[in-house]
């Protein structure tokens, strides 16, 4: 039995002060359902990925909340939380439920509303993804990734310029995405001159605080017509791995083991190798995180990703094969944490269906998404394939 993504849609990402979680959810889900060409009453279950609604917005019970809002009365509905990997985890569980035969048609909604709140409160809420001892230390998520960056710099001579080139690339891709939060080009010099957030990470090394929602419809092949199959993409791998909640207790600061393990399992499940991937959306919450991702996903040996990215090897206009973060990534498209993992699936599904216009990767046949929670305590990897 094959499993397909038949519908995919995301709202614009950014500071959406006039939109509520309710209105964002309607836009994303109804667009995805209409893209799939199905009726609302075909939906067997809803999986909602969200991290901060309880702690920032005092609203929990999001399964029932969105089932009501979307008029999907009485269907089973679940909220899944895994910090910034909430969206990817929700998709993983939705896919598992379809694989198991329990469901035939499910909707995954990733959603987050962050900009209603002041930065200190958002920063504190996000530290909920780390360990208690990290919260006591006063460290923030930029701070944790800054310590990863320093370890990587010390071991592999990774430079601040190499990190800056990740932000420059993703901002360029963002200029080609009408839904991205930032649609302006950056330069290496501008990144290096931006204000320090957590040394050595500067403002333009960091993804923003964002609002947004994304949704996909996942279906089993036996409820689909031949014509639907032709214009849909198959899910050939969906894997999850975890690691210690806090950074300090890891065996090594030079890799995110959860990413390495989840991707190794995913390549095995899909019976492919990293070299087969044409297009990928990876978790660049900070510029250094994309360098870790490129190595831990097996695209480059340890210590080799920094120089390769500075040479533009994964840039849409200079890549010979793999293009990374065509949506603009978390950096330029925006990072509404619970929505990100689902938005990655939307971008890859649209790339494989040839629907993204100017930022289309022409040879895209196989795509990968990589969604990370916390400082690597959760990693989710999906591999999608174009129907030949």
């Amino acid at each position: 039995m094959d499993i397909y993504i038949t519908g995919a849609s995301a709202t614009r990402f950014g500071e959406l002060w006039t939109s509520s979680p309710r209105s964002l959810s309607r836009t994303a889900v109804f667009d995805a359902i209409s893209d799939a060409g199905i009726e609302k009453d075909q939906v067997d279950a809803i999986y909602v990925g969200n991290m901060l609604s309880g702690i920032l917005g005092n609203q929990e019970h999001l399964g029932a909340f969105f089932a009501e809002e979307l008029g999907l009365h009485h269907v089973p509905a679940y909220k899944i939380e895994g910090a910034c990997a909430s969206g990817g985890l929700a998709a993983h569980l939705a896919i598992q439920s379809v694989r198991s035969g329990v469901n035939r048609t499910v909707v995954v909604l990733g959603i987050e509303k962050m900009t209603d709140h002041k930065p200190e409160d958002v920063a504190r809420a996000l530290t909920g993804a780390g360990s208690e001892s990290e919260r006591i230390s006063g460290v923030t998520f930029p701070g944790l990734y800054a310590m990863l960056a320093r370890a990587h710099m010390n071991e592999y001579q990774t430079t601040e310029r190499q990190m800056a080139s990740v932000a420059v690339k993703n901002h360029y891709h963002g200029t080609l995405n009408p839904k991205a939060q930032f649609r302006t080009n950056l330069t290496i010099e501008k990144v290096l001159a931006s204000s320090m957030i957590a040394d050595p990470l500067k403002l333009y090394d960091c993804s923003p605080i964002s609002d947004g929602a994304a949704a996909v419809v996942i279906q089993r092949d036996d409820v689909m017509s031949q014509s639907m199959k032709k214009k849909s993409v198959t899910v050939v791998a969906s894997t999850v791995a975890t690691d210690t909640l806090g950074l300090s207790t890891r065996e090594s600061l030079l890799e995110l083991a959860s990413t390495r393990i989840a991707s190794t399992l995913a390549y095995k499940e899909a019976a492919i190798s990293p070299r087969d991937i044409d297009v990928a959306e990876v978790h660049d919450c900070f510029s250094i995180a994309e360098i870790y991702a490129m190595e831990d996903l097996g695209f480059y040996p340890k210590g080799k990703a920094g120089p390769a990215l500075e040479r533009g090897e994964t840039h849409l206009s200079t890549s010979k094969k793999l293009v990374v973060n065509t949506s603009g990534g978390l950096k330029a498209c925006g990072h509404p944490v619970g929505a990100t993992g689902v938005k990655q699936l939307v971008e890859i599904a649209d790339q494989l269906r040839g629907r993204v216009g100017e930022r289309q990767v022409k040879h895209a046949r196989i795509g990968l998404t990589h969604n990370v929670g916390g400082s690597g305590a959760t990693a989710v990897v999906h591999i999608l394939k174009k129907k030949e």
Partner: protein, 99 residues
């Protein structure tokens, strides 16, 4: 507001590690702090490997620029963690002082 019961439970861990020495494995300076830490920023935070082999993430106190290097020796001391809320208990815990 931090539960006083949780603070009381955590004191045991603090007692075990107080006075331990170790060295800095990686560090950063937090310039955009989370709520409760605003009055202390900017402040360094480090991943420290204690001589016992245990590793922890800990805030630096009584520091100078020259202390911000990998390998810097530190001792764990007792300090107030962050600004207490109006009705909450004042939370004390471990921070790292350079040696």
């Amino acid at each position: 507001m931090e539960s006083p019961v949780k603070v009381w439970r955590n004191q045991k861990k603090t007692r075990e590690l107080l006075g331990s020495c170790g060295s800095v494995h990686s560090w950063t300076i937090i310039r955009v702090p989370p709520a409760g830490f605003e009055s202390q920023a900017p402040y360094p935070v480090a991943v420290v490997k204690l001589d016992s082999g245990k590793t922890i993430t800990v805030q630096f106190v009584d520091w100078l620029e020259e202390h911000l290097v990998v390998g810097q020796r530190i001792i764990l001391v007792l300090r107030r963690i962050c600004e207490p809320s109006l009705e909450g208990v004042i939370v004390y815990g471990l921070k790292a002082r350079p040696l």
